[in-house]
């Protein structure tokens, strides 16, 4: 694997040493071809030299990363290494990291050094993974373009005048730019899958309850779920194996053993696999380039033995309206904790307690976050609950029933991840509703709590296109296996943005 690229020479001197998957790096570490300290240092240097081109990191934790890498090398020398020991990754800046700034992309938390680790962070450290730093994101994960970050927009490595998608845009750009082989993300309405699609990556949103939400700054608690972004399905399987698991600290965590996702990849067969193609996903709104790529994937899967079946998800159109009640309502409640009293931003010279609350929040939150808090506040205000929140929860039930019926006929569902490829920075930032509607294919999955992944499906006008595979509850293993089989037969996921490896 590594030796094919680097030859027998010192691994650290190879100019493309960063261009390896997590699986390849794990193998190189196990074979002693490279140490975690060498690998970590080279990626930290690369972030220092090239990171500014993409604005994908908010915080780089150099000292801590090198200390963790050293510990990983010691563990390996002592025979205590796991499969991922010493592999460097990045965390979305929504996951609390003990003693390290956890900004959530907001001025509100610019000065916040979390006093504990998120369970995901702890699980991954326990697996020996090394944290390089914290990645940029839309403020409080509210956005589809990474333009709402207090730290400025992230640039797409495939075209730096375009957005990387969002809200996990920094994680996606960092992996696409080969600044990290993998990164964590969170997905409330598509925030892992859409940036994965726009940056040519594989990204997985697990089943609601599979990955702990403890220490993950809450946006919409009934929808939020953490997951991996990486180059391949195999890498996502490896990362998910380290992230997932029951957590008594998260009351919605599901007490159920974690599958051996990586070990099961080769065992998933496409022979006779029934792939549902929702007719509602292939109507208007999808660009021709995206349509061509999705149809190409369906054709390839058929060649590999799968059986495409037309299905109906009749309530698809209602998913965006219902989401823009549920998500803002839960956000308005969750974000009430930011009060300028206990942590985070506090306004100067408050006149009284109300002034303290209102100006700390008014000055600490950006425009999109305030907009959503107000939508949610309105929807939950006296007299409106039945018309909005209750109605939206009923529509969630209808959407879930659509999926339940579909999974009686098919094993997985295939469709586009996003209606278009990455769009120019600034193009949609003035029109929130247009931005919201671009999440039409990803949102229903969160409303129904299902797992789904996006994987590279080719290119349109030089920009990556992603397709989405949706599975039944806890069927992550099958999704990853199907994507892995597809990736064994294609090379879309191996393409590198121009200039990244210069």
């Amino acid at each position: 694997m590594i030796s094919g690229r680097t030859g027998p020479t010192n691994y650290g001197s190879n100019p493309v040493m960063h261009d390896h998957t997590i699986a390849e790096l794990a193998q190189a570490l196990a074979a002693g071809e490279v140490s975690s300290v060498e690998l970590t240092r080279s990626l930290l240097d690369r972030i220092e030299n090239r990171g500014g081109e993409y604005n994908s990191f908010i915080t780089v934790t150099r000292e801590q990363a090198l200390a963790e890498a050293e510990a990983a090398d010691e563990a390996r020398a002592a025979g205590r290494a796991g499969p991922l020991t010493g592999v460097p990754i990045a965390h979305k800046d929504i996951f609390c990291t003990d003693g390290v700034r956890t900004s959530c992309g907001s001025r509100m938390l610019d000065n916040f050094e979390a006093p504990y680790d998120a369970t995901v962070v702890r699980n991954m450290r326990d697996a020996g993974l090394v944290m390089l730093g914290k990645t940029n994101m839309d403020e409080f994960a509210m956005g589809s373009s990474n333009e709402t970050s207090y730290y400025g927009p992230v640039k797409n490595p495939w075209d730096t005048t375009r957005v990387p998608g969002g809200s996990s845009g920094g994680s996606a750009a960092a992996v696409a730019a080969r600044l990290a082989p993998g990164a964590t993300g969170t997905d409330t309405g598509g925030s892992i899958r859409q940036p994965a699609a726009m940056c040519g990556l594989t990204g997985l949103k697990p089943t609601y309850g599979r990955v702990s939400r403890f220490g993950m700054v809450a946006f919409a608690s009934s929808l939020d779920q953490g997951g991996p972004l990486a180059r391949t399905a195999e890498d996502c399987a490896l990362m998910l194996g380290a992230m997932a698991g029951f957590d008594p600290n998260d009351s919605t965590s599901i007490d159920r053993p974690v599958d051996d996702y990586a070990g099961a990849l080769d065992g998933v067969s496409l022979q006779g696999l029934k792939v549902g193609l929702p007719k509602e996903y292939f109507g208007e709104g999808m660009s021709d380039g995206v349509r061509g790529a999705v149809e190409g994937v369906a054709e390839k899967l058929r060649e590999l033995g799968a059986e495409p079946v037309e299905i109906s998800l009749a309530h698809t159109e209602l998913s965006v309206p219902a989401y823009y009640v549920v998500a803002p309502a839960e956000a308005s409640s969750n974000l009430s904790r930011f009060d300028g009293v206990r942590y985070g931003y506090r306004c100067g010279e408050p006149k009284n307690i109300i002034d303290l609350y209102e100006r700390s929040r008014g000055e600490g939150f950006g425009a999109e976050v305030k907009r959503r808090i107000m939508v949610g506040t309105y929807a939950l205000s006296a007299g409106y609950f039945d018309a909005y929140y209750l109605k939206a929860q009923q529509i969630r039930q209808l959407i879930s029933e659509d999926f339940r019926t579909a999974f009686e006929q098919v094993d997985v569902i295939l469709g586009p991840t996003s209606p278009t490829t990455a769009f120019p920075i600034g193009e949609r930032s003035g029109d929130p509703v247009a931005m919201y509607l671009s999440d039409v294919y990803t949102i229903a999955v969160n409303l129904a709590g299902l797992p789904a992944l996006s994987m590279p499906a080719g290119f349109a006008d030089g920009l990556p296109v992603g397709v989405q595979l949706i599975g039944n509850h806890f069927d992550e293993g099958r999704l990853l296996g199907v994507a892995h089989q597809y990736q064994q037969a294609t090379d879309h996921h191996r393409q590198v943005p121009a200039g990244v490896n210069d």
Binding site: E317, V320, P321, Y324, S336, G362, M374, I395, Y436, G449
Partner: protein, 95 residues
């Protein structure tokens, strides 16, 4: 659905958000167009549909009623903008 500037100010106050006059004007338009989007829900007949409470119809777990939190007051209060003698400071509330 169209919100007036006064309604925007009322919602902002309920949400404890200060808003400038410019923000009120912008939000009156934007919130109205978001509520128009949301009103598309009315196209669905939801009579008799049980509102979804949990994606897997799971119920909240119970745990033994025992103390699990250690005392971390000092660590937490180091994050606060203003504390004194273990208390969080705010502008005077009671005259």
């Amino acid at each position: 659905m169209s919100l007036s500037p006064d309604e925007v100010r009322r919602i902002a106050h309920l949400a404890r958000l200060s808003v400038s006059d410019d923000e009120v004007a912008a939000n009156a338009n934007e919130l109205s167009s978001i509520l128009d989007l949301v009103d598309r829900m009315n196209a669905a007949d939801t009579r008799g549909v049980t509102p979804m409470a949990h994606p897997q119809n799971a119920t909240q777990r119970l745990r033994p009623d025992v103390v699990t939190e250690p005392d971390r007051r000092e660590r937490y209060q180091r994050l606060a903008p203003a504390v004194e003698r273990g208390l969080y400071l705010v502008p005077r509330v009671v005259e």
